[in-house]
Symmetry: D2
Subunit: 215 residues, 4 copies
């Protein structure tokens, strides 16, 4: 093998989000300084992550799935999807797990989620390869059924405010048109001034939305 | 005199917003390098600023006021306040000139303005010393009169989204209560996701507002 | 167990140098998105790191130590310490592995190293608990012996230029006084302008050193 | 005139070092808020700067030159050049006034200065148009004369450590070769670790210089 293990592990850490070559190497030295016990602990946690975290077959978020001996494997749907206290009539579409966690920790929403898995680039020719369009359509179809116990009334598209996010919103509105015709309420998050905004430094779109949504 | 002119001018530039001692001194050296012509030009522009810019007696913004020989001085109200095309029924209260300029350049608002002159610190005991409360009350009183040609229907409070801004909004709502009782519509700019917002990094307040204002 | 595996792994990543809670959590999601293969690969690399990297018993750096079946374990000293081409008369004392790597990659030094393991805080009462003083004294004692094949002539103290670094230099000079009395040449890295330095922004110490070391 | 005074003054401030369009405009509003007295004060200071600051005909720094009515104008040489306590045998060549001030305030040098007025770009064909080469040669010629009361022994080239600075050093060494042949000692500032340097983040040149200049 060309490289030694310090170099190879440095390269692995370089693929972590936001990590450059120097910091990646410092991670390796950090582990070496912390010693074998810490390396063993991290290894064990990674092993557990691989085994105990599953991707929910309903909302597609990753979740801790305690292995159930009797069933021979983890549950297929996550704790949020199984939570009877959450409002079945609401479905929020988010880009990624971290967005879902942010909304969840804000304690401002009590409905269900769907992780789209990305945003659709503006000139993308095969959007279904970038995001879970088929899965979303299937999920909505199932939950729009008259006798569904989880009948959905409103879908909230909750994406980042940037050109890709806006393009994805437009694409979803077209793709899901059949459902809105059948009565599904399709909404997007409200826009305006966010915490910390100063008017002096705001762009035209934000000022326009803030003015349109004044109350 | 204790200090020489380079030191004194450095001190003057230090009071400019966002300028530290080193950059202030570099400004002086910059002027010296540019030479006497540039110094003369800046001096002339400052002289013109002092003469040609006046503070509007109606909205309190600074504006270019061409001196009119026949009237013996600049006009008392600014071009925006005199603009007959602007909607008299709307008055937007902003903190400072730069905010007003941002809204104006966004071309999203066609009403009138009022520059408050600051925000009210949370424990401030004499708010009227910090912002133009008396002037605002007087302006609204005058424009709420039944026969006012500029009768105001809605006042939009357009302040930065931070604790001082929120405190100022509450204070204005109380101070202007008599007018809302008389029918004045008092609104604040809408809140939610602003341009560039990513859900992952949003605070609870912003997510809550974005959800509440979804549409 | 109180926390689930995502939370626990997030906490482990938080201890990585320069990593806050949000980025730590993104690391976990990154691994989940990359999938089981990548998690397995990282686990394998960590396992290899623990087995294949040893701490050199001579210079205390971490190094890749290929396991030698015949000897029942990795070598006790590193490749640098065993390198016969390196100059035995020079020993450079550095704070940590990353410093050693920087010097090594600069290709400007061909002597040996000693990793001190830290700097001595200014009011520290038990410096020997913070850095490898005993180990350094022992190493120098051994290599000052008349018949040592690796007889040392000069020790270069190569530490960061800050108060703790300067304090550590003074402390080492006192601690090693017996050796300098016996003829050991104790030096510190030269000081002056470093790459990118502009005079305008230099502090007094740097200018003083640059002037004193002009040539 | 196309622009109003606020726009024109904003453009003037934009030419100040490190100032973008927004901050330039904030400067104008700052002056307007501070009021006529402050504008008058700045105008007066600028006027005084133009009149009271002269460029020294010997070292080419800008200095406060009190107008002497009897002589009909400011002195031709600055207070530093006239200071009999400074060491006549030393001449330090710096790029610009701010560098000279930094050295002067560090209180580490008691010789004389010469402000070169810039650095020589690497592919520059007419260096004498960029920096004061003729003036420097003339000054050294005069002060190398046997009977000069200010006879110079050493010239210290004190420039920023970057490619242009290094190129300028080489250029000066060639240009001044006749003087070094006649006994002038030509030195450059010492290089090595500067305050705050950490080995881990140091480049090869800095490490090489630090090692070469160890002591």
């Amino acid at each position: 093998m060309a490289h030694n293990i310090v170099d190879r592990l440095t390269e692995t850490f370089r693929r972590f989000p936001g990590i450059g070559p120097r910091q990646a190497r410092r991670f390796v030295y950090h582990l070496l300084r912390e010693g074998q016990n810490q390396i063993d602990r991290l290894t064990a946690e990674l092993h557990e992550l691989g085994k105990a975290v599953a991707q929910c077959q309903q909302c597609f978020r990753f979740y801790s799935a305690p292995v159930r001996p009797e069933s021979g494997g983890p549950a297929k749907t996550c704790d949020l999807c199984q939570d009877l206290e959450r409002d079945n009539s609401l479905l929020m579409v988010v880009e990624k797990d971290a967005d879902l966690e942010a909304v969840r920790q804000s304690d401002t929403y009590n409905g269900h989620f769907f992780v789209l898995g990305g945003l659709i680039p503006i000139l993308e020719k095969e959007p279904q390869l970038k995001v879970r369009l088929r899965e979303l359509t299937a999920a909505v179809t199932k939950r729009m059924a008259d006798n569904s116990p989880r009948k959905i009334k409103e879908m909230i598209i909750a994406l980042a405010v940037n050109p890709e996010g806006d393009h994805t919103i437009e694409f979803l509105k077209q793709t899901l048109k059949q459902f809105t015709d059948e009565g599904l309420h399709l909404t997007v998050l409200g826009r305006g001034l966010s915490t910390g905004t100063e008017l002096e430094y705001s762009d035209t779109d934000t000022l326009k939305n803030a003015l349109a949504n004044r109350s």
